[in-house]
């Protein structure tokens, strides 16, 4: 998802939101948000009252038609502002969806009759493909549907989905066999088995997710809505009873009922939690949108909320905690071997080794002994690549045989050649492992030369990051295939709370189950098919986009960047979403205090002149007081849209500190701000001679 933002598209987005905010005045849409429905009904009611008052205001003796009209207009604006908040939040998603739709045009696909022959087949439209169909895709063609490569290997441009322009390799078998419809082959050919029917593809899911088309209210959103609706209902009762109380008191004082319906409706709208009611869905959409911007797709809004609750992160060591590759840091020769000899052998065996580890050995040899690879190039060398079977690599030249590999394999190799395996080697290996490094034993002609110390490089700042997470109550668990000794050393250096060494998929699943039974909520990332059970078990499971179909289906989020550190961002976004919801709710409710002080004295000042003392804002007149409060109520929605979209500030601090901070800003602020704003609006209204 390319995040290209231009002034033009921003303007277009804005105009679309403005248009949408009027379109959303449709009662059927308003009904989905009960709090705003109340404002909507109030707007209709005051409009009717205005029409009646224009007809015969003097006969009724109620408030002036102008005042009623002003209230009606402001109430309509309140509805529009709320719609605008939602529309602008949806805007970014809609723009993304448009871009994705462009990638999802129907293309011609060559459907094979059988996977064995790549010639016989029929050309069909991609939308007619069914699950299980086999298609053949050539260089330059678009992959017509989600599928799994069953034959071939090719580079694929996935930028339409990930925004990443560098092509990725897709090949049959293993963990890189999944392809996505809408991506394009930039080399070779593939035979793909379709795994998703048209309309149900990954791209379709993506479009509907970013657009929020079938956005369901999350449980927490529902719970909050129950709270807000209950508050609204109780305020309806407050206002209704206030009318009868006022009538009762007026009768006793033998005057007319001082509270007009218009003013009571205005009071009701001011009291109802309209600020949060108007922004609630925008907050949810914006949270989803922020996640999309981080290039993570959540399969449901629920998953984002769950991310906020996560208290345990299972992090893969490689790529998250350590840099993806280990680096050679030391040559340790055994007795009787010159360091230079060891370095040279190690370098020779690694010359053709394009892995980062191999390259780092070449570099280290060059740095320490000024050995240069090309000096040896003239020798007739034959390189022996690393295979899973031999677990060794090396080179053969002039009758010599150099090998390097893991200690256990090398030990067997050396012994099979009839040489003794030096005890010193065992010592080195043990010491390196204790320090968290990886030992590579090097042998020439079946004799051990020594050990190369490959060091895991811990990422900069990762230990601090974990310390911050710990402060927030989030525990980190490192998952690694290393042996327990190595794992413990790296875990200590990186500052993770726990580790799982020699991790197997079953081990991960077991660990998640155990943590969950202790009441923890666990997040993890995964890519391989064998990760699927653990992904399905975890509370938040981020599947790598490069991963297999099974992994993607088991997870509840997909990381398009396939970055293992993404988990931390996901948690941050989840927490921020919930915090924004809570803070704006607090703000909205705290506002009511000032609104009471504005409206109540103005309502009853004719009945009990002493209540003028409650007019602490010293508002000009009862009418300006009510108008100011209602105008504030409408404008604050607009003022808070940026906050709703951006989310409240997030800090990695303990819960108590977060609460104190947010309470101070949004609780205390929510009490003070409206007093000031209402007074200012009152001054402006009076200054302009509007009241």
């Amino acid at each position: 998802m390319a995040n290209k933002k231009t002034a033009l598209s921003d303007k277009k987005m804005f105009m679309r939101a403005v248009k949408d905010s009027f379109m959303k005045l449709n009662p059927a849409i308003q009904a989905e948000n009960p709090v705003m429905l109340l404002v909507y009904i109030s707007a209709v009611l005051t409009t009717l009252l205005w029409i009646v008052s224009v007809g015969g205001a003097s006969a009724i003796g109620g408030p002036s038609a102008g005042y009623t009209a002003a209230i009606a207009i402001i109430l309509w604006l309140t509805c529009v502002f709320a719609n605008f908040a939602e529309a602008i939040a949806e805007g970014r998603g809609k723009a993304q969806a448009d871009a994705l739709r462009a990638a999802k045009k129907d293309v011609k696909a060559f459907k094979l009759n059988s996977p064995d022959t790549k010639e016989k087949g029929t050309t069909v439209l991609s939308c007619d493909l069914k699950k299980g169909d086999i298609v053949y895709v050539k260089i330059g063609q678009q992959i017509p549907a989600d599928g799994e490569v069953i034959e071939g290997a090719a580079s694929v441009d996935e930028s339409a989905i990930t925004g990443e322009s560098a092509p990725v390799i897709r090949e049959s078998g293993g963990d890189r066999s999944a392809v996505t419809g809408g991506t394009t082959l930039t080399s070779d050919w593939l035979v793909v088995r379709v795994t998703a029917d048209s309309g149900n593809s990954f791209l379709d899911k993506m479009i509907s997710m970013v657009e929020g088309a079938n956005r369901k209210k999350t449980p927490n959103e529902l719970a909050l809505q129950i709270f807000l609706v209950s508050l609204s209902i109780i305020f309806v009762l407050v206002v209704l009873s206030l009318y009868t109380y006022s009538d009762f008191s007026a009768k006793q004082a033998e005057i007319a009922n001082p509270s007009s319906i218009v003013t009571l409706v205005a009071l009701l709208v001011c009291l109802a939690p309209t600020t949060i009611g108007a922004l609630l869905s925008a907050i949810g959409i914006a949270g989803m949108s922020r996640l999309n911007q981080a290039n993570v797709l959540a399969m449901s809004g629920r998953a984002i909320e769950a991310a906020g609750d996560i208290d345990t992160l299972l992090l893969d060591k490689t790529g998250t905690i350590t840099l993806g590759n280990r680096q050679a840091s030391q040559f340790l020769p055994v007795q009787g071997v010159e360091p230079q000899q060891l370095a040279q052998a190690a370098q020779l065996s690694s010359l053709a080794d394009e892995t980062p580890e191999g390259r780092s050995i070449v570099v280290l040899a060059k740095e320490q002994f000024n050995l240069r690879g090309f000096q040896m190039e003239e020798k007739h060398m034959k390189f022996v690549p690393f295979t899973a079977k031999t677990r060794m690599s090396g080179a053969d030249f002039d009758g010599h045989e150099i090998r390097k590999g893991a200690a256990d394999v090398m030990k067997l190799y050396i012994q099979s050649k009839g040489s003794p395996y030096p005890e010193e080697c065992d010592d080195f290996v043990k010491r390196i492992a204790e320090k968290g490094g990886t030992p590579l034993v090097v042998a020439e002609d079946g004799k051990a030369l020594g050990v190369v110390y490959l060091k895991d490089i811990i990422k900069d700042g990762i230990a601090e990051k974990f310390a911050d997470l710990r402060k927030m109550g989030i525990k980190t668990v490192m998952i690694t295939g290393d042996n327990p000794m190595t794992a413990a050393a790296i875990a200590a250096e990186a500052g993770v709370d726990d580790f799982l060494a020699e991790a197997t998929p079953e081990g991960k699943l077991e660990m998640i189950r155990k943590l969950q039974s202790q009441g923890h909520l666990v997040a993890m990332t995964g890519d391989g098919t064998n990760d699927a059970p653990a992904l399905a078990q975890a509370d938040v499971a981020v599947a790598m986009n490069t991963g297999t179909q099974a992994a993607k289906e088991a997870g509840n989020m997909v990381d398009l960047d396939s970055s293992p550190t993404k988990l931390i961002d996901v948690v941050r976004i989840g927490k921020q979403l919930l915090m924004t919801r809570g803070s704006l709710t607090t703000f909205s409710i705290a506002n009511d205090l000032a609104k009471y002080f504005a409206i109540i004295p103005s309502l009853f000042i004719t009945l009990y002149p002493g209540l003028a003392a409650l007019n602490i804002m010293n508002l000009q007149s009862p009418q300006s007081a009510v108008l100011s409060a209602v105008i504030y109520n409408a404008l604050i929605i607009v003022a808070l849209i940026p906050l709703a979209l951006k989310g409240v500030a997030y800090r990695e601090v303990p819960a108590g500190e977060l609460l104190r901070r947010n309470l101070l800003i949004y609780g205390l602020g929510g009490i003070i701000v409206p007093f000031i704003c209402i007074k200012v609006i009152d001054v402006i209204l009076t200054g302009l001679g509007l009241v």
């Binding site: 129950i226 209950s230 006793q252 927030m472 909520l521 009990y608 002149p609 947010n662």
Partner: protein
């Protein structure tokens, strides 16, 4: 000054000192542990189960538990209704008192079954002894026990993990009554009886007045009247009053008072044996009985906070809830005390009344207060009785200063959660705690949880209803009453104070409190029925809500506690909880109060 302050402190300190051990004892009782009274009471308990066919180990789901509560509630109420309607045909009616009207009987039955004890009747004049001790006293015990039972159903929901049952209602009722309420009542009864509170089955007595008094045709006392007993003439300032009546004898009510008074205080019931409740010298004769009755008002509700902490194995949580309640109580007591002592400018005007506090007099606003209690003991009682949903009085709240009266009203409107009724105050407060953690939990970036259990839409729905039952009840009923014809005729005063009288009546019903602004004549068909229905609504809705929450919570797993978990035991939470309770109360009742006591206050100082 000092002596008054010392009195306030003494009341509060004694309360806490007694509540702590009682809390421990009650926790043991409700958790089914052995206690020091077990050797005596255990056989009785077993006998009760044997006679009633209760199986002690039978566990109930929340629905079964609720059905039992409702069944028990309505049967009890029906019995009480019938007793009152037929009291002329039933025994123990030496005064030959007539049956009650249907609406007064409905109101009274609802009132006592709901632990409200609103009294639209006068005990000594309208109830037989049978109705008093078989009907009212029984309800005084069981309505309080019901509160404890429901509270403990909720406690079990927090303690148990992934279960479906929340205890056995009949066992909870039996243990709460037998081990907690009964022994405490016996102790209090004996002390009260020893201090002169009536306890007998004798008919009312007649006593000869030391000095005769005169009353006009409407029964009002004639001030400064000169009475000539020989000629039976009454003169005021030398002028003869023609239709004056001369009174030489006084009716002295008798009956089984002490036993009912003990439980009325302990069980947050409040229904006085006498019409004027504990302002009557035979209900609360002296400073010692006043101290005991006053402490008894809040004792069990305060103790249950500690029991709660012990039973959920989180003592700090119990203390935190206690702290929130206690802080609010102290603040509200302070406001009442200050305002009553300061009295009003009108009283002080031209030295009409000497409101100064001296060694000889309490000073302040003594209207409606007993001289034997003074300001301190009256204000404390007023604060305690409206904090606990007790409703017994030893002074007339109607005569309090506007702000003093406002506080008594507000404490009820907050939903009776400042200690509140036995059991129900605490579970009401836990409803507020759920609301608090919901908002606060979101603010720390987590979906909310309380005591390690997640709060989801289902719990939220019921928690909101638990918290808003009182405002809904009060606003709807008083809103209707405000436009109902003839309700204004029940008022004793006009204007803002008249409105306060009506608002107080419904607040009292809506908080299941039962105290009254004395001037209000509540015995009319409309008021009896509307107040009766309000009391039932605000009693049953929270019970249903709390049991539903319990039924859902008990099935949940526990979430681990981490640094990211919102603490619900620190001072921040206590502060927030107080804030939420006050905010909900203020938002709901600010308009109503501004037409009543607030308007009255501003006209007083203007």
């Amino acid at each position: 000054m000092m002596s008054a302050v010392l009195q306030y402190i003494a009341f509060l300190v004694i309360l806490v000192v007694l509540a702590v051990p009682l809390g421990k004892y009650s926790a043991d009782v409700m958790d089914g542990n052995r206690v020091f009274l077990s050797p005596i009471l255990s056989p009785v308990e077993k006998l009760i189960y044997k006679l009633t066919g209760v199986r002690k180990d039978e566990e109930m789901t929340w629905k079964t538990y609720l059905i039992c509560v409702l069944y028990f509630f309505f049967i009890g109420m029906a019995f009480l209704f019938v007793f009152q309607m037929l009291q002329d045909k039933l025994p123990f009616n030496p005064q030959n008192i007539d049956p009650m009207s249907w609406h007064l009987s409905f109101n009274t039955a609802a009132s006592f079954a709901t632990n409200t004890n609103w009294q639209a009747y006068s005990g000594e004049g309208q109830l037989s002894y049978f109705s008093q001790f078989m009907g009212l006293t029984t309800q005084n015990f069981v309505s309080a026990a019901t509160g404890i039972a429901v509270l403990y159903a909720l406690v079990r929901a927090f303690v148990r993990v992934k279960k479906t049952t929340i205890g056995n209602f009949w066992v909870d009722m039996t243990r709460a009554t037998l081990y907690i309420l009964l022994p405490l009542s016996i102790i209090v009864t004996i002390v009260l009886f020893s201090q002169g509170v009536v306890q007998n089955f004798a008919p009312g007595q007649t006593a000869h007045l030391v000095e005769p008094v005169a009353a006009d045709s409407e029964g009002n006392w004639i001030e400064g009247a000169k009475i000539d007993l020989n000629t039976h003439t009454v003169t005021v300032h030398g002028k003869k009053v023609d239709d004056a009546a001369i009174i030489t004898d006084q009716f002295v009510p008798m009956g089984p008072g002490a036993s009912q008074i003990a439980i009325k205080q302990l069980g947050t019931n409040g229904g006085g044996f006498m019409g004027v409740n504990s302002a009557h010298p035979l209900e609360d004769p002296n400073v010692l009985t006043n101290l005991i009755e006053c402490i008894a008002l809040l004792l069990i509700p305060a103790a249950l906070c500690f029991s709660f902490g012990l039973s959920i194995k989180n003592k700090k949580q119990g203390k935190a809830i206690f702290a929130a309640m206690f802080i609010m109580l102290v603040v509200f007591l302070g406001i009442i005390a200050y305002n009553e002592q300061a009295a009003t400018p009108q009283l002080a005007h031209d030295n009409a009344v000497n409101i100064a506090m001296t060694d000889d007099q309490a000073g302040g606003n003594m209207e409606g207060k007993e001289a034997r209690f003074g300001i301190a003991q009256s204000a404390t009682w007023a604060a305690f009785t409206t904090a606990a949903s007790n409703g017994s009085v030893n002074s007339m709240h109607d005569s309090y200063t506007p702000l003093g009266g406002l506080v008594t009203m507000l404490q009820m409107q907050l939903g009776e959660v400042i200690f509140g009724g036995v059991g129900c105050g605490l579970y009401g407060m836990l409803g507020f705690a759920l609301l608090t953690v919901f908002i606060a939990g979101l603010m720390v970036g987590r979906t909310p949880e309380f005591l390690c259990k997640k709060i989801e839409p289902y719990e939220m729905k019921w928690a909101v209803l638990v918290c808003l039952a009182t405002p809904i009840g009060i606003l709807v009923a008083s809103g209707i009453a405000a436009v109902w014809p003839d309700v204004a005729q029940s008022l004793n005063n006009a204007g803002a104070h008249g409105f306060s009288e009506m608002l107080y009546a419904y607040s009292s019903a809506g908080g299941n409190n039962g105290s009254a602004f004395a001037g209000f004549n509540a015995n009319t068909p409309f008021l009896n029925v509307s107040i009766g229905l309000t009391m039932i609504f605000v009693r049953l809705l929270p019970i249903i809500g709390i049991l539903a929450i319990a039924g859902s919570m008990v099935q949940k797993k526990k979430i681990a506690v981490t640094a990211g978990t919102l603490s619900t035991t620190n001072s921040m939470f206590v502060f927030l909880l107080i804030f939420v309770v006050l905010l909900v109360g203020a938002l709901n009742f600010f308009p109503a109060l501004s037409l009543g006591p607030i308007a009255e206050y501003f006209s007083m100082i203007m």
